[in-house]
């Protein structure tokens, strides 16, 4: 960023903007495996990372990719991988390791239609629940969604910042449309970009307790090789990182893992409100569908319907309070998704009001159009 003078406008595709965002955020390690529609991220980073003094490596599979990413992060380097559905499935085991051992890392999943090999070149939003619950066991995780090229840049930086601050893996859900659409992108000034780095221990090694609780619930993280010799494991561990089976220690760990995220809800749960202030019918959408939704809301407004859009940036932890305020205010809410209904279930789960929640789903590999959403807005608005 430092080489740039003033703001620069370029034509970028979503995958390229993710690369720019990652580099701006300080990512200096990428390990990945080729997969459509995510491969451009790896290709571009293989060229850019050496120039930034970083490291790119193509691994033998996605399991190895996330393993290397976690290893690099343990050595103190901000790290990322990118994949699509089948690769994301393979990453689930080590994703859980990163949750358990509290290793910051960013995983980009450019969603394709599924299940299985599915529709490699078509967009989908079928991995929403997998992103939240894909790895086994109760675990906290942060899931963000992107809808534009500008988003890809900014949300990638946000993903790194949240990952570093909370020591948790952050998953970015993109899709084939966002990934491959070229849009005008404006680079922000370097000084406008806020970067968060993980907290390092401020105490000498002999005082360092690697998994000790604190008001934030996020312990400082010592990189390997800096004098803080400690143990990292995927087993349930005590505050020193050693395996434990004591009920009180198990409970304390799992509760802390969740508490550190719960306490950060106010800054983790990002949404964009569009024409919502006086809305009585709203759309709740995320990813590329929210682009169509925005258009539909504008068109509905022109025809006299007080429509609004709540665009979810953070999908998990589910931005409940933002969704609740819309449900409370509106008589109807449409939840369009390119899956059979994943976020709509969450919306219905938190609906304690008279608001009618209507889901709309497309699973044919095609985008949901503004017209389709507009029709649903009219249906609920009359």
């Amino acid at each position: 960023m430092s080489a740039r003078k003033g703001q620069k406008r370029v034509l970028l595709q979503g995958n390229e903007a993710i690369v720019e965002g990652a580099l701006a955020a300080g990512c200096r390690f990428f390990a990945g495996y080729p997969i459509t529609p995510a491969s451009e991220i790896a290709e571009l980073l293989s060229m850019r990372l050496p120039l930034a003094g970083g490291t790119f490596i193509q691994m033998e599979d996605e399991i190895a990719s996330i393993g290397a990413v976690i290893g690099a992060s343990l050595a103190g380097v901000k790290s990322m991988t990118a994949t699509s559905g089948p690769g994301f499935s393979l990453m689930q085991e080590n994703l859980g390791f990163a949750c358990m051992a509290e290793v910051p890392c960013v995983i980009v999943n450019v969603m394709r239609g599924g299940p299985s090999t599915g529709l490699p070149t078509n967009p989908s939003q079928g991995d929403v629940m997998q992103a939240r619950w894909g790895t086994h066991g109760d675990h906290p995780v942060i899931v963000l969604s992107v809808s534009t090229v500008q988003d890809c840049f900014e949300i990638t930086i946000l993903a790194f910042n949240l990952s570093e601050k909370y020591r948790v893996p952050v998953i970015i859900l993109s899709d084939a449309v966002v990934a491959h659409t070229r849009e005008v992108f404006t680079f922000p000034h370097a000084r406008e970009i806020q970067i968060v780095d993980r907290a390092l221990p401020s105490m000498p090694p002999e005082w360092y307790i690697p998994y000790e609780d604190s008001p934030s619930g996020v312990p400082p993280m010592a990189p390997f090789g800096e004098g803080y010799r400690y143990h990292v494991t995927g087993l349930v561990h005590d505050v020193r990182g050693f395996p434990t089976q004591r009920p009180e220690e198990i409970k304390a760990l799992i509760n802390r893992l969740f508490r550190k995220i719960t306490q950060g809800f106010h800054e983790i749960q990002k949404v964009q409100r569009f024409m919502l202030d006086d809305a009585d019918v709203s759309v709740i959408a995320y990813g590329s569908v929210s682009r169509a939704a925005r258009q539909a809301v504008k068109e509905a407004r022109r025809e006299g319907v007080r429509a609004g859009l709540l665009q979810l940036i953070t999908l998990f932890p589910f931005p409940r309070s933002s969704v609740e305020s819309v449900l409370k205010q509106c008589r109807g809410v449409v939840v369009p998704e390119m899956n059979v209904g994943q976020i709509s279930r969450e919306v219905k789960r938190v609906n304690r009001w008279e608001c009618k929640v209507e889901k709309y789903n497309r699973v044919d590999g095609r985008l949901i159009t503004p017209k389709q959403i507009r029709q649903l807005i009219f249906k609920l608005g009359t």
Partner: protein, 285 residues
Amino acid sequence: MSQGVTKLIHKYLRHDKKFPHVWCPGCGNGIVLGALIRAIDRIGLEKDEIVLASGIGCSGRMPVYVDFNTLHTTHGRALTFATGIKLAKPSLTVIAIMGDGDATAIGGNHFIHAARRNLNLTAIIINNQIYGMTGGQSSPTTPYGSYATTAPYGLIEHAFSIAELAVTAGAPFVARGTVYHVETLEDLVKKAILKRGFAVVEVISNCHVQYGRRNNMGDPVTMMKWMRDHAIRVEKASSMSIDDMEGKFTIGVLADVEKPIYTEEYQKIREGAIKGRPTGGPGHG
């Protein structure tokens, strides 16, 4: 205990934390750990410089006992984590400790690719020919015809020879030792750590509890005698006939060649990219 041993224990073990260990009486894992610690001590590495990464299984518990930067990863994945650590901080001495099922079944793909890729890592594979921790199921190195809890009628699969597999996959340094030949083992581990490149040491070990007990070798002494009687030094094996080698295995250094090291090659890429190429990429128009 000799004073020298006590000194090593105090220096390297987390003796105040997580003992007693989980291994069965007579287990070979302790012998491997001893050889590893003595090799490290002889080389004179600082504890801060060392990362010991393991997978899952009895061998996977080794890092918890030693005062290094220690990492207990997921099953079969130790080398993938080790790869990330080494790339991020090439100055660290990164040692992966694995079991036979860990390294050659679930982690088999990572193992051969790590050998091919040639980072400066050390891989120690404790081959006890069985899944010990989970209760004696057959592994990729369980001999044909032997019994295991998942081969109650005798195993009909054929075993990997781990060291030979590593040679074929391209590892520039490959050795095999046993927990019977302790001094040799220490020497091989030392050579492997000092080797510039991916170095593999396969250690034939005993699981008399889960393997021996079901295969007429139910105590550690019997299993160690079997190692003594079946291990042939590489130098001697070269002059023996195929018939004489039947049922035997070699110990010693099986391969020791020079190959370009990944991290050094990558550094050249970095320097070349910065010098020779305009800062390309779409962001730079």
